[in-house]
Symmetry: C2
Subunit: 604 residues, 2 copies
């Protein structure tokens, strides 16, 4: 990217010493790390209802027990992750915990699952955020894909600038979301109890599927998306104020309480109001609930905006996590090393750009529909939960610690759920992830093996002789004729090596005598070699001659000096034969031949 | 173009000594040089009728006197050109004659007119040839543009292969054309005299324009297209068997006789049969005449094929003339010197490709319609006729020769006709050429001035000191670290100059101590410069350091040696930081800095 545009979008570069971490108090850490988890409330209930409705309006009753089951699962996972926080105070992401305790392959499996999920977090959160806006302004519905893309690009640019430093930026929308949902749920509950909240008239929906156990499990799987993002705090412990682990654990519990309460509240209201998900996806369940309670007044709009805002923050979480995980993988030589490069503004720019690109592709392929993306989503999250917790079982037992039972229960619970997810959502999209995770693991291993082979080849063994023998250099300077423009090239060639000769390609034999005569005077005592070119090619005779020189001077390196004009105006180039460029290309893939262009700058 | 495809399409390259000219006897020279002129019969009569019909069916009567007037003009031009043939036995194109005798500006004007006309010859001839096929097979009419493009590409490839050597190739279609037209005109005449040829039923056409003098002059202008190509023989005299000029002059007269006879014959038949040009352009006048005489029998098809064939040969003439004129202009430094390059097969490849490209653009822009292209055509031809003949007036008078009156009469006649053409066809397309010719002259002059300025700058004055002072070279070798891959670069740098240093960019200060320690052992006694990079840029610190070095070593040239890995598989490149490439680009436009890449070939 050219510098001025880059400066405008990203700001001035930051020096490396500015990288020291900002430490967050709990009240700011909650919005930074919990936005992803809390924001799931915007779609989790709806995902349950969308499956249940297949068995008709009557089946919607099941939303409450399913919600409670998921909240119990949440409690188990959170209890288990509290242990990870204390065991890995410097940050215990699933990759690190699984790799440390279970080995490389489980570690890479967890990493692949996470990388894929970070991409999905961006796509799903942004799509859901745009859905909240679409619900408030139905006329924007046709532009949802464009809105998603623009939102992702904005979040990407913000992250390239290095937005993560400002906890304050996150606090306002997060607390606005929490406050507005508390108001909505409370007002809804009071109105329901005082009988002033009227359930919507029930439109009959024909059942297309019997209410089997499989369908109920599918609905449960849909709701499990509520747990995504729960692991974020365990990744970010060093960002908390000391005592880090204690503060992080407390924040985790707070997050779980908010998430669980809201989830139960929304599912209860949806149940009480008999809300059914709209078929066109034009209006979200949360929007329908809010409209039933408040009508279309100003507070309804506040809820929609707060929902959209926290969902964008949720996407932002991935913009911190994906590049960080990529950089760790790159440092461990499982991903291209460019992902470990720190950009102008101290962000892992390549990871940020890759994430945005992949998320935009997903949005476009799936038409920005939250419901279509969800089946790809939770499998990876639960896979990394499971690997991380079994890692913790090994970790705790090795240290003869207690509490490994909690990790084992948590790991088993999430493992079972993962299988349920994979099976019940397989045909509706989970198969993509089931194929993708092992493929990604293979790719990471392949990259690693390339780097290992490379390092082996480049390793300087202590027995390597030093100093190395002197290198001999044979220099050829190509002369298209003899004029001022070639003199610097001759001078330069002479300076490089005593073994230096000029090469002239004879296209028209009539010119040769004159060139030789002028060479006598101006050739600076460099011997001139005239190469015949019966087919008028400029490149072929040189390639042939180079072979000869290399046979003659077996251990020499050969440097080819090519003089080149630089005209004052760029378009003047078309008035010159481009033989220098052609030659450069022809020599590009030849071994042990070094090309140096000597430019002659025209002044007029 | 990659070599195997090139070989397949163009054949093996030919050595320069094969360039000797094939000498043609008159019987083969006629088809080679006269196809352009003779082929005008395919559309000249039609161009007259197309204008006359605007004044109604009755006005078509005027076709005969107009044809006779044009034939008289032809006789004048041919008489005049016979003198040029004797005066310029080595080839007297309008550019050469005008430049020699009238000066550079008239010469370039003639050259510009000719270049434009060669392009138009290709477009018009190919379009007319395709029209002949379309007339025989009306179902091909919708594909006419594609057919034209394919035909041009075929002729182009044939010329890149070097088709012009084979006079025999030309003889068959040319004599088939001559023979079939003789048969058609004779049978038509006999049938008309014996009363067995019935004029077509006249469909009433409403006059949209009164039969003014202006309209008659417009019709005359249309018919003047018959004279295009007349100059071809005077360009190609060296290709004739000796005595060259005498044989060329005889061939010119034969050509004029054939052209004139056919023109009168076709116009007479069109007049007798009351043929009116079809409005949709779907059937040509010649096709209508042939169909009236023969019905749709086999001989009718022979006429159509012969017409198409000679028109393609006519286009082929331009593929010899345009590149030749371009190469002469390039040698005189009025066109980019690439036009003087002789290709693999001894043809001026760049001129051939340029001509085909321009002709295809014209075909596409004008939808392959002959009638739409014609107004652009003849102005340039008559301009070059005029300049050439006035050039001959000066030439002959300077030598006190006789016959200048003939040239003066010819020049005046064609000059008057040119003005008539420019005025009467101005709004229907001639204005394009009227703008284009002076623009092209300006461009040629601008190119020439560039080359003159260039030559001045590059000229080695005899007082230039020799030998030149020795050049001092400061060499910087960039080291990303110290491993096997950088050793060859250090060796190479050491060989170039005693003033040599290694440069290391410190991205992470933690690594520096280790690099310095390893440098002690492996650095081959080259001093190591460590550059801080607080903003983690690889390029900026080097650019800054280069400025320092250039201040410190004012008169030195600076060579930057960049080590580069070459992985075994191309896609492995994405696994490496591309800092070498970035640096190369950053240094590309810096003066007095020479970049040399030292490659290290990985083996695994």
């Amino acid at each position: 990217m050219s510098t001025p545009i880059r400066r405008l979008l990203l700001g001035r570069p930051l020096p490396t010493w500015r990288a020291a971490h900002e430490r967050l108090p709990k009240v700011l850490a909650l919005p930074v790390f919990a936005s992803d988890a809390m924001s799931s409330n915007a779609y989790a209930t709806e995902e349950i209802l969308r499956i249940l409705i297949l068995a008709g309006i009557g089946a919607l009753d099941r939303v409450l027990p399913l919600t409670l089951a998921i909240v119990v699962l949440l409690a188990i996972v959170v209890t288990s992750y509290r242990q990870t926080i204390f065991a890995y105070p410097s940050g215990g992401g699933a990759y690190i915990v699984a790799k440390d305790n279970l080995g490389t392959l489980p570690g890479l499996t967890a990493a692949s699952a996470l990388l894929i999920d970070y991409v999905l977090t961006v796509s799903v959160s942004i799509a859901a955020g745009v859905s909240a806006i679409n619900s408030a302004y139905p006329e924007t519905f046709p532009y949802r894909v464009d809105m998603c893309v623009v939102a992702i690009v904005i979040v990407m640019l913000a992250n390239l600038r290095g937005v993560r430093e400002s906890g304050f930026l996150f606090a306002f929308p997060s607390y606005a979301f929490i406050a507005s949902f508390i108001v909505m749920i409370s007002v809804g509950a009071v109105k329901a109890m005082t009988g002033t909240l009227q359930p919507a008239p029930v439109e009959p929906v024909r059942a297309v599927h019997p209410l089997t156990l499989f369908l109920v499990l599918r609905a449960f799987s849909g709701g499990c998306v509520a747990l995504t993002g729960t692991e974020a705090i365990s990744n970010g412990i060093p960002a908390f104020r000391p005592p880090e682990s204690k503060n992080a654990a407390a924040t985790l519990v707070w997050m779980a309480l908010v998430l669980g309460t809201f989830f139960i509240g929304i599912s209860s209201l949806a149940h009480y109001l008999g809300v059914a998900p709209s078929e066109s996806e034009a209006e979200t369940v949360v929007s329908q609930i809010a409209r039933s309670i408040f009508g279309s007044n100003w507070f309804y709009y506040i809820i929609q905006y707060a929902t959209a805002a926290i969902l964008i923050l949720a996407a932002n979480t991935s913009f911190a996590d994906f590049p960080r995980l990529s950089s760790i993988l790159a440092r461990d030589r499982f991903m291209p090393r460019q992902f470990a490069n720190v950009g102008d503004r101290l962000a892992f720019s390549n990871g940020i750009i890759a994430l945005a690109g992949l998320a935009i592709i997903l949005i476009i392929v799936f038409g920005g529909e939250v419901h279509a993306l969800i089946p790809l989503y939770a499998v990876g999250v639960f896979l990394s939960f499971t690997l991380s917790q079994y890692g913790m079982v090994v970790h705790t037992r090795r240290r003869n610690g207690r509490g490994w039972v909690i990790s084992a229960v948590g790991g088993t619970a999430t493992g079972v759920v993962m299988l349920v997810l994979a099976v019940t959502k397989f045909t509706s999209g989970a198969y993509i992830v089931v194929i993708l995770i092992p493929s990604l693991v293979l790719l990471l291993l392949k990259i690693n093996s390339h780097y290992r082979i490379l390092a082996e080849q480049l390793r300087l063994a202590p027995e390597e002789p030093t100093p190395l023998p002197e290198l001999k250099n044979t220099v050829l300077v190509l002369v298209p004729g003899i004029h001022k423009g070639v003199l610097p090239a001759i001078q330069y060639a002479k300076s490089l090596s005593p073994d230096c000769r000029a090469v002239y390609i004879e296209i028209d034999p009539a010119d040769t005598a004159l060139v030789e005569e002028r060479w006598e005077k101006w050739g600076q005592d460099v011997p001139l070699v005239v190469l015949e070119s019966p087919y008028r090619s400029l490149v072929q005779p040189i390639l042939t001659y180079l072979e000869e020189v290399k046979e003659e001077r077996a251990k020499h390196i050969v440097t080819v000096v090519i003089p080149e004009f630089v005209p004052v105006k760029f378009w003047h180039k078309i008035l010159h034969n481009q033989s220098g460029i052609m030659l450069k290309f022809a020599l590009l893939f030849r071994r042990d031949i070094i090309v140096a262009n000597i430019r002659y700058y025209l002044e007029k």
